[in-house]
Symmetry: C2
Subunit: 453 residues, 2 copies
């Protein structure tokens, strides 16, 4: 086989990078489980009709066909055309409907899986990547407090990772819709579409758009713009919106409900996430889709990446005609985040191998003795390898050095016949007993750390 | 959406089952890492030409096409027709060639990923399933001792799981080829093909086959049969084969090399895997493909499942013309194993949720106080949920009970204003402080156990 080339859009990592990815995922998992989220994994494929139920994403689907299909192209004996899932929400909705009778509601689950999008290769986008989702699904009802819980769990999980700090920006569909409605603007979607362009085209152009497309007069357009400019870290932000509403004679029960909700989330964030969870009334993306809270997350200093973790409340994740399942969830675009961390070397790992100790081999006849020492260390949780060769010790030490293995063990090498262990970073060597010796805790396993500036 | 039905061949688990799968995988991972194997994950897709390089498996490939492909069916701008990988060996070979310059050899890696096979749905086989592989890859050379290491690592990993005991049966291509050659039979493949039918068709029929297809006379056929009937737990087995060779005047340097190797592996297994790793000279499957050791693994009492973990030594995993990469590896068919465990309820889990403590909520006004208690517990590694409702405590306790959450916490519920924690299994209730209370270690997280007979 000629030397293969990487496939554009299908990222693969070197072992050291995979260690970082794995540890980031395991740290996220730990926080999710501490909050009682259960693990879920769904199959990679869905019937095409489910994948296309939302219409818009039809371009991105990878279809499957069997190479030697004996029933005609793309057919399946059970009549299903299958495609790879492009997110974890469509499979969750289907899984909940399929297993509703066996699940406990509210159903809190996390899910960390690859998803696939049939992007054009030349677009430079990922075609296979990890998403990490948490969702809470209710049966028919889902109390608002889960709209508080989900972003706080995600913010806690992301804030603990050894990555640049995050900023989670929140908004609420009820605030936007209530405010616009109270102003006399009924086409919420169109207003949101214009507001969403604020950062890109500026305030004046947005006012023009609102007038041209959303039927706003000058006063209404200015009011929408002022709303979008409100941000804040505490529930004071609700009063700021109330003051703006009063200024423009806006009265709306929906607005008041939204503000109460927004304030509740900001209050809850004060305990351990003050300044990390921020209300930003300009957040418009997702508000046309979600029905309550909406969340976006930036990596501070890397705002150009866009949102690394988004989500919100949807009143109808799934419905089978008899029951409706509302939900609230967030999704991390993990591979995109990680690929930025790698490209800019923002996270480091102390070594690329789990091995803490290389047990040297004096000669092939002594390999069994070295293996026994390695097993003694492993039984006490210390990762050990026996040297692959019995070359000169200098070469065996270089083997350890190239892999970042911190310790090399020499069996019966002391003058008194004791074993010796050498820290190859410092050169320090001392007598050691494989049934009691411990490496320093920080050397036990590879550790990931935020890169120092 | 109408209630969806399960897709045949694409298994999905309920949360309690997923907890079991996850813990089994994490226990395997731990053993692999203790032996210095690095984690690897490859993309799910490979160019079709790589997938078909071995020919035989062409029927099982799932091809990908983009739903709205603007360059014609199944085409990709970069000329690659892509398919889903059907094992983890083909991707490993490609990955090693692609990244050879950046890897350290011998390259020891583990890999746990879904693979896909485009089986006919009516065959009742899995079309998506987990494989768990370990391999050691050398650059140009790979010492025999890795053929000893790999099965011992796998046997240790599998023997530690809370599943029925395993039996690993080993053989060596050099023994078979050397013995047959010494007998005067040159068509090793054909002899192996006949011997492989021994369990199915019996000794006499195998003798007939050997005479009809492998050109054996009666004496040669009997000798092959006697070889296949040799088994043993210690290196004594090598002497048994030597005695048989002497009886039939077989002399072969290749046979002697193979016996020395086999004995070395059996000796190494005596320390901690005696009686688990067994030489069985009837193991023929894989010997036509592998070039040295070959391994198969049965679940004792579930031999009908076939081998749950197989592999062997291959002198040429990959080659780019300049370098050749020999390897030795084994692969667990994890989903098939797990599906047997589930169907026969051979493994149980203490609960289906990570949550150890449900913090009750007296009224919605007191939810924030309950959240603070839950956070205090989480900060000390105790998984906690706040009750989703503030209904009567009896209902909140039932919520915990249905999920198997062992403890319910009542904030400020004691006569002295202290918090109270109730073990809902025993009904015992006591004062507790969220900054110091610990659940019994066995209740901290869901635990998996072998089912009691």
């Amino acid at each position: 086989m000629a030397r293969p080339k990487a496939l554009s859009g299908f990222p693969e990592w070197l072992p050291a990078q995979r260690v970082i990815e794995q540890q980031l995922m395991s740290q996220l998992q730990q926080v999710f489980e501490l909050h009682g989220y259960v693990p879920l994994e769904t199959r990679a494929v869905e019937p095409l009709e489910h994948l296309l139920a939302k219409g818009e994403t039809s371009k991105e689907v990878y279809l499957l066909s069997r190479l030697q299909d004996d029933e005609g192209a793309n057919s399946e004996a059970d009549g299903n055309q299958l495609g790879l899932h492009f997110d974890l929400t469509v499979p969750l909705a289907r899984y909940v409907l399929e297993n509703a009778g066996k699940l406990q509601f509210p159903f809190k689950r996390y899910q960390m899986q690859k998803v696939w999008r049939g992007e054009r290769p030349q677009d430079g986008r990922f075609r296979e990547f990890y998403q990490v989702d948490i969702d809470v699904i209710g049966a028919d009802t889902l109390p608002y407090h889960f709209e508080v819980e989900v972003p706080l769990v995600m913010a806690r999980a992301l804030a603990k990772l050894p990555i640049p700090p995050i900023r989670m920006r929140i908004n609420n569909r009820k605030v936007a819709e209530g405010f616009y409605g109270g102003l006399g603007l009924s086409d919420t979607q169109e207003v949101l579409r214009s507001i969403d362009k604020l950062a890109k085209i500026g305030a004046d152009a947005v006012v023009d758009l609102l007038k041209a497309n959303a039927g706003a007069d000058d006063r209404q357009a200015r009011a929408c713009l002022e709303l979008a400019q409100i941000t804040g870290e505490t529930s004071q932000v609700a009063d700021d919106v109330r003051a703006l509403a009063a200024k423009y004679d806006v009265e709306s029960q929906l607005l008041e409900t939204g503000l109460t909700e927004l304030a509740q989330l900001l209050d809850a964030a004060q305990d351990d996430l003050a300044g990390i969870v921020i209300a930003d009334l300009s957040v418009a993306r997702g508000l046309d889709y979600y029905t309550g809270s909406v969340y976006e997350t930036e990596l501070v200093g890397h705002e150009d990446l866009g949102s690394i973790c988004s989500g919100g409340r949807y009143d109808e994740l799934a419905s089978d005609g008899k029951n409706t399942y509302p939900g609230v969830g967030m999704s991390i675009g993990l591979s995109r985040l990680i690929s930025r961390l790698f490209r800019q070397e923002l996270v480091t790992v102390t070594r690329a191998t789990p091995t803490a100790v290389l047990v040297a081999v004096g000669s092939e006849d002594e390999r069994a003795a070295s293996n026994r020492v390695a097993n003694q260390l492993r039984e006490r949780g210390i990762a050990a390898e026996t040297s692959p060769n019995s070359a000169k010790f200098g070469r065996q030490i270089r083997y350890a050095d190239r892999r970042g293995i911190p310790f090399v063990w020499f069996v019966s090498a002391g003058e008194d016949g004791s074993d010796q262990v050498k820290d190859i970073r410092s050169g320090d060597q001392a007598a050691a007993d494989a049934s009691t010796w411990e490496p320093p805790a920080e050397d036990l396993a590879p550790r990931i750390e935020a890169a120092q500036d």
